[in-house]
Amino acid sequence: MTVAIDRATGKRRGEPGPRPGLSRRIRYGYQKHWYAYAMIAPVAVVLGVLVFYPLVYGFYLTLTDANSLNSARTIGVNHIDATYKFIGLDNYKDVLFGQLSYDRFWSHFIWTVVWTVVCVTLHYTIGLGLALLLNQKFRGQTLYRVILVLPWAVPTFVTVFGWRFMLADSGIINAALHTLHLPQPQWLEDTFWQRFAAIMVNTWCGVPFMMLSLLGGLQAIDASLYEAAEMDGASAWQRFRYVTLPGLRSVSSTVVLLGIIWTFNQFAIIFLLFGNTAPDAQILVTWAYQLGFGQQPRDFAQSATYGILLLAILIVFTSFYRRWLNRNEQQLAI
């Protein structure tokens, strides 16, 4: 049996009674909720087998010195057993505090944080600006929207190649800068400009999602609120500040969180833009991938260590974010 829930409060009816014993609770819970469990079972199984088991296994790898030379592998008909050994928390110690840890971890960490903050800020502000422009009534609105969605419509792995052509040393961007007698940076070679280019391409790719989500949010704001504000003599800025922004709050908090998570974990753009070159422009995700798959011998243990650290950062961040939202009496509406 499943329980109908009261929609307004989301609470089970007839709750709570005195707690019965554990075995009775389990039996009772099973009878009452087995439909629910049966329905989430497929997802639970898929996530369990393909996400949480690898996660545990990955965590185990971080405690070893596994790499592609000492892992179990099959060469032709010969099967070679794994010979890596347990080394405790040495990987974490090495990554976080070891020699060269600044070059190998902290510099990437700082760059990843900068990258996330800058990209999400740009996504949000540009997306909001365009959404506000598109939310007006005028001719050609649909056409603008169709064109502005283009960066999202074309698969990233296609457009990034387009950008590579443009950013090449004598590509169209540098040619244009040359005509304007401006300096022509080496977009794909110089560290600063690599980072600049990465942020530029990611902003270009990420704005449409924000724009459309916020446009949806804007259109859901009750028009009578604006009329009322206008009658009260609110200026355009006041209407924006006191009607639009609060009206967008729940969409905003959701898309900003998603944006942060997606940008922090953005793999495709940096990977496709630079490949295995540009070690300084790699964010933690692509750097971890490079350790695990982009070099010989493949360093599985270190790569997994980066991964666990990344996950820890995101979980801590999200918990704080949720708590902050709760304190402001907001709900995450995904």
């Binding site: 819970g29 439909y35 459309l212 446009l215 991938y289």
Partner: protein, 303 residues
């Protein structure tokens, strides 16, 4: 300030505003000529920026020489469709198309099917562990592929699933299912609970209610989830380039990269391939984008 706004608005909505004739000449959202001009100017600039990289790719794909991207002026005089016919006739384009369709189709099907039951369960039923489960779904969104890709690789190779379509479909599903479940929960929440209750009164099991009553009503939501799954699986790069090893199993995402090395960086061919890939996907995207956005933000705008 904000409180006064809210109070007056409720006062206003009590009167039948919607039916009343509007007296103002300039309607909401209409601006004077200067503001309108500025809006248009900004939008035109933004549209140009949005369009240019794609348009440039199309333009370059017409140039016959692999170095034409460095001196695009020449393309005007030598424009040709040769790149396209070469790609279609002499490369693995159709192999990649087949792999992509299998992987993307499989992912969409499996992903949406199992996300739907989950979405329904979390929308309608409160079971012990409900909150933890929702939190786990959000958590899996956060998993950096780098954490998983090494152990996944080893698990997949133990299972003999490296370089198989099934392996890639399963792995793609893990990223798609949690988000689709969230999406569908949002959609199921908009279907009145009374329908379930009516079904239950008529003697349907919860599962029967779901299949017979709710699924048919949720078709638009399912479509949105399917589009999302389709587009995500199509654009997936990391898993595909790690788990697909043989040329004829490549998806487009991997195949396009292989162009750089294998075909001596023949950028003209690459551009043509990119355009061939992008056109159908973008066309499909435009057909669905409006629904996609409504679906993606459905949960957000209600709150």
């Amino acid at each position: 300030m904000s409180t006064t706004t809210v109070e007056t608005s409720s006062a206003v909505t009590e009167r039948p505003v919607a039916g009343a004739p509007r007296r103002r000449v300039r309607r909401r959202g209409e601006h004077g000529p200067v503001a309108a001009l500025a809006s248009h100017a900004l939008l035109v600039v933004a549209s140009l920026i949005a369009f240019f990289p794609v348009g440039w790719l199309v333009f370059l794909s017409l140039g016959p020489d692999k170095d034409d991207y460095l001196h695009p002026g020449q393309i005007w005089h030598t424009m040709t469709l040769d790149n396209y016919s070469f790609v279609l006739q002499h490369t693995s384009f159709f192999d990649w198309l087949k792999s992509t369709l299998i992987v993307v189709g499989g992912t969409t099907l499996i992903g949406v099917l199992i996300a739907a039951t989950t979405g329904y369960a979390v929308s309608r039923m409160r079971f012990p562990g409900y909150r933890k489960f929702m939190w786990l779904l959000l958590l899996t969104q956060m998993f950096p592929i780098a954490v998983l890709i090494v152990p996944m690789y080893q698990i997949m190779s133990n299972l003999g699933l490296i370089d198989t379509y099934l392996g890639l479909v399963l792995i793609n599903s893990t990223t798609i299912v949690p988000y689709c479940a969230w999406l569908l929960k949002g959609y199921f929440d908009t279907i009145p609970f009374e329908i379930d209750e009516a079904g239950r009164v008529d003697g349907l099991t919860p599962f029967g209610t779901f299949v017979r009553l709710i699924l048919p009503l949720a078709k638009p939501g399912l479509a949105v989830a399917a589009f999302y799954a389709f587009l995500t699986a199509f654009g997936e790069v990391a898993f595909a380039s790690t788990f697909m090893l043989s040329d004829d199993h490549y998806t487009f995402a991997v195949g396009l990269q292989s162009f750089v090395s294998e075909h001596d960086a023949q950028r003209n061919l690459m551009a043509a391939t990119a355009v061939l890939i992008a056109i159908p996907v973008s066309a499909f995207f435009y057909l669905v984008q409006k629904n996609l956005v409504t679906g993606l933000t459905a949960g957000g705008t209600k709150g």
